[in-house]
């Protein structure tokens, strides 16, 4: 009932928006001009074209400083923390930021007050820390996070994957959350967490939960290694791998652990980043799991709640040389415009990240070198990553967060560094990438030990901004002051038969003579979550000719033509979208 009331309310708001749309379609040049200048006064912008990133964390009030909670003993999970989630928790149309934090580990001051932080986006590049007010200031040892409306009430909930018991926060819809972990049955024991994804594994209209587990760790198993006289963090090889956990949503607020019957727990790995995507285009959602120094997993969904691990057959277990990577984060997207979902996976120092090109029929090829997708990354350990069209030219670019595991590495190995610059790879439109890091503004020159990364349009100006959690450092909030970028179109989906978030929906956009495809994901990159509102760069095209949505439960909707440079909300089963040049 609550759900329908919310929908009713939404329709009233949308009615007003539709009248704005009618006005807008007659004078969109004026509207667009007004929007694109918003909030950028006084910013020195180069005359060259392309994205231009400026770190505005401090001036925006994002003063979050991560702390891994270590005391110098170098526990294995310290450098692995942590992820970040970008999502609209209060439904006001502005994307908010949720940072995970560490917690005091054995030997640290137990009174050290470390907690996760939620920064509410007030608009105009102002954020306010409301973690305490919203009651999501978990004091567990945060590693992975995902947001998803698991109870279909219209408000995004949060799942935090910790070293220690995990937490499910139910969004109360009034700006606060409740810890419902126990009643939902998703504590997941006392394990070392990793990435997490919400997805509808059985297409029954509610979101299930895949929880990554890294290794089997107990304090008494801790070991420190020394290189050149310097202590180093232990390898995950020192520990036993731990199988992941899959929870099926019972539809009544509780979950059932189906790890065994789904086939997931048959495979023990060292999970880090995870993403769920329909790589074989068969209508159900599959799971890519990055394993640290082990073969990755690709769990193909048989559609009946059972998964088959097919990474070796699919070609995603190893890189093109047949070697396992220290796989870190992963994102799914179509980089070459062939309509298939490819994977990009970050990796360790001295390894290229891997761009797995989807060849169709469930087969992938490592095309990293051929596509230039490893430039700038090789000397560094890579973590957070994501596909996004940063320059709005109609193709998917890549962002890679870098920084070494070992804080003393600079004394041992001059070829890399603990605090490293991050990498921006721009797609040239043919599926080849060009390293644009040095030409993309001061925000890309910052050297910090970066980890989880979120990509979304934080100021609703039509381009994709970046949030980076930096280990033991202040977070970065990189505003994209795009210079001479193309048109754009952003899509929000509301499921009615499908899950409310429409996680798993596939959207195809035809504009400027070419198709683009994207999916709604919950949980991606390095133990992070972002981008449920889909963003399409349109280049010179000032409209979307056609837009197709394949909803998670299978229904296909077709729309168009639609105007560019606006936000559109599509409700499953409704014929017309709600479109606004400002975020609905």
């Amino acid at each position: 009932m609550k759900r329908y009331l919310l929908l009713g309310g939404l329709l009233v708001v949308c009615g007003a928006i539709l009248s704005v749309y009618a006005l807008w379609t007659n004078s969109f040049g004026k509207w667009v001009g007004g929007l694109r200048g918003g909030g950028k006064e006084g910013t020195p912008i180069s005359q060259a074209k392309g994205p231009w990133f400026v770190d505005v964390a401090s001036e925006s009030g994002v003063d979050f400083v991560h702390n891994h909670g270590g005391c110098g003993r170098r526990y294995v999970m310290e450098p692995m923390s942590a992820g970040v989630a970008l999502f609209d928790y209060d439904g006001d149309g502005w994307i908010d930021i949720y940072f995970l934090n560490g917690a005091p580990l054995l030997g640290s001051d137990p009174n050290l007050k470390l907690f996760n932080a939620l920064y509410r986006n007030l608009g105009g590049w102002q954020f306010q820390d409301v973690g305490g007010l919203a009651a999501v200031d978990d004091r567990g040892y945060g590693l992975g996070v995902a947001s998803g409306d698991y109870n279909n009430d219209g408000f995004a909930d949060l799942y935090v994957n910790n070293f220690g018991p995990n937490v499910l926060y139910r969004n109360n819809g009034d700006g606060t959350f409740s810890d419902v972990t126990s009643e939902a049955g998703v504590e997941n024991g006392h394990r070392v967490g990793a990435g997490v994804v919400f997805f509808d594994m059985d297409r029954d209209g509610d979101l299930d939960l895949y929880v990554g587990n890294y290794i089997k760790f107990r304090y008494e198993l801790h070991i420190t290694r020394y290189v050149g006289g310097y202590p180093r963090y232990p390898s995950p090889r020192e520990y036993e791998p731990d199988p992941d956990t899959l929870y099926r949503n019972n539809g009544d607020g509780s979950f059932t652990d189906v790890s065994a019957e789904s086939g997931i727990s048959r495979h023990a790995g060292t999970t880090m980043g995870i993403t769920a995507a329909d790589y074989d285009d068969d209508g159900d959602v599959d799971i890519f799991v990055c394993n640290d120094v082990r073969a990755n997993f690709l769990f193909r969904n048989n559609g009946d709640g059972v998964f088959e691990e097919v990474a070796l057959i699919a070609g995603t277990a190893y890189n093109g040389y047949g070697a396992e990577n220290a796989s870190m984060g992963v994102d799914a997207g179509d980089f070459n415009g062939d309509g298939r979902i490819d994977f990009y996976m970050t990796s360790y120092q001295g390894e290229f990240p891997v761009l797995y090109q989807n060849e169709g029929e469930g087969i992938f090829t490592d095309v990293t070198v051929e596509r230039g997708a490893g430039q700038g990354c090789f000397p560094h350990v890579n973590w957070g990553t994501g596909f996004a069209d940063f320059d709005n030219d109609g193709d998917r670019d890549l962002y890679v967060a870098c920084g070494h595991v070992d804080d003393l590495i600079d004394y041992i190995d001059p070829s890399t560094s603990f605090a490293a610059p991050n990498v921006l790879l721009l797609n040239d439109g043919t599926g080849h990438f060009v390293d644009a890091s040095k030409e993309s503004g001061p925000g890309l020159q910052v050297c910090l030990p970066s980890r989880g990364t979120g990509l979304d349009d934080l100021d609703n100006d039509g381009d994709v901004d970046i949030v980076v959690l930096n280990l033991n450092s202040q977070a970065s909030v990189l505003r994209n002051d795009l210079r001479g970028g193309g048109h754009w179109f952003q899509v929000r989906l509301i499921g009615t038969e499908s899950s409310r978030d429409a996680v798993g929906a596939r959207v195809r956009v035809f504009a400027g003579g070419r198709w683009q495809v994207d999916e709604v994901h919950s949980g991606r990159g390095y133990q992070s979550d972002h981008g449920k509102r889909l963003h399409f760069g349109l280049g010179k095209s000032n409209r979307v000719d056609k837009l197709e949505i394949r909803w998670p439960r299978g229904k296909v909707s077709v729309y168009g033509p639609l105007p560019a440079d606006c936000f559109a909300t599509f409700v499953e089963g409704e014929e017309r979208p709600y479109i606004s040049p400002v975020n609905p």
Binding site: L312, G322, G350, T365, S415
Partner: protein, 382 residues
Amino acid sequence: MLEAGRRLVRLILVSFPEDPEALAAAARLHDLAHDTERELACWRLCLELDPTYLPAHLRLSVLALQAGRYDEVIALTNDALRYHPRSPECQTMLAEALMNLARLSEAEQVLRQHLELYPQSIPGRFLLGNLLVRQKRFEEAIPQLEQVVRLAPNHASALHNLATACARLGRAKEAEEFRRQLARLKQAEQAAQKAGLQQFVDENLAPSVVAQIANAGGRLFLRAGNSGMAEALFRHAAALDPRNIQCRVFLSNLLHQRGEWREALRIVVELRALEPFELSHHRNAGLLYSKLGRFDLAEAAFRDMWMLAPNSAMGPAAIAEVYLLAGKDLTEARRLTEKAVALEPSPAHYKLLAEVCRRLGDGPAAAWAVEKSQRAQSGAAP
């Protein structure tokens, strides 16, 4: 241990300040101390002293390859190949760098030339197979990769590439078999890696590196005619690293030349245990046992050598000589010598046959063998 290494390097550098080998020893010590900048400086200085010095070219190339500086690898290896056009390491590193820059056709050319020179090269053959898979030339890739697996059955990367190539060609059963083999191997690798983590601890690595330095010093002193100092350094290296081959080979040769057969034999016995498939160790053991009058053990060592190289005349000839020395079963000695002559009709083997026949009292046969020996020596057909 590092301090011991430093003392050694100081000694070597003071004694041979202009020798690249001395600088190479210093470079190895800096590598052990994870001081990459000083290590690089040493290797570069090596090349200034001797632009043809291959170990410096190789190490600089390896470091650049590990850091992903592929343009530098190409420059370094091309430079090295000017002086050492047949260096297999330079050729494969050049190819790998080219592949990592997506310059596949150039890499293919380098690899094909490399494989003409070294058809048994496992890294070269694998890189070519991998390159062909990347170019989707699966039919061509398969024989290359199959050869890698024949040469190195536990080559996981080759198995992975074979599985990929077979799968893409629709040869599902073969692909599945390769995947099964790969899965088994990877499982074993994981276990070995966990067990081997201890290897990466400096304390475990240091002795072997310092042993290398001592060995390099020993070679330098030996070259300078100071065999006493050389022996001391080789012994130091052997004591530090019970698996170091080179210092043991040098030491045993030195002792052998000095007539210290018993001590030389002790070292050779260690070498036989370390490298049981190396012919020269068995041969040297046989020779030393013979000199010490332990003919039974000499025969056993030569028989091991013969088993490793059944088509070589060395084995039967050496055993025949032992029989002669021991005055044992001359009929069998004759049979063995005839076998050696059949395998390699050299003047030495005919001479040996003549001696055996003479000892058996077969004058005509001995005369015939002497004549054959002389004809072989003069270059005419025996």
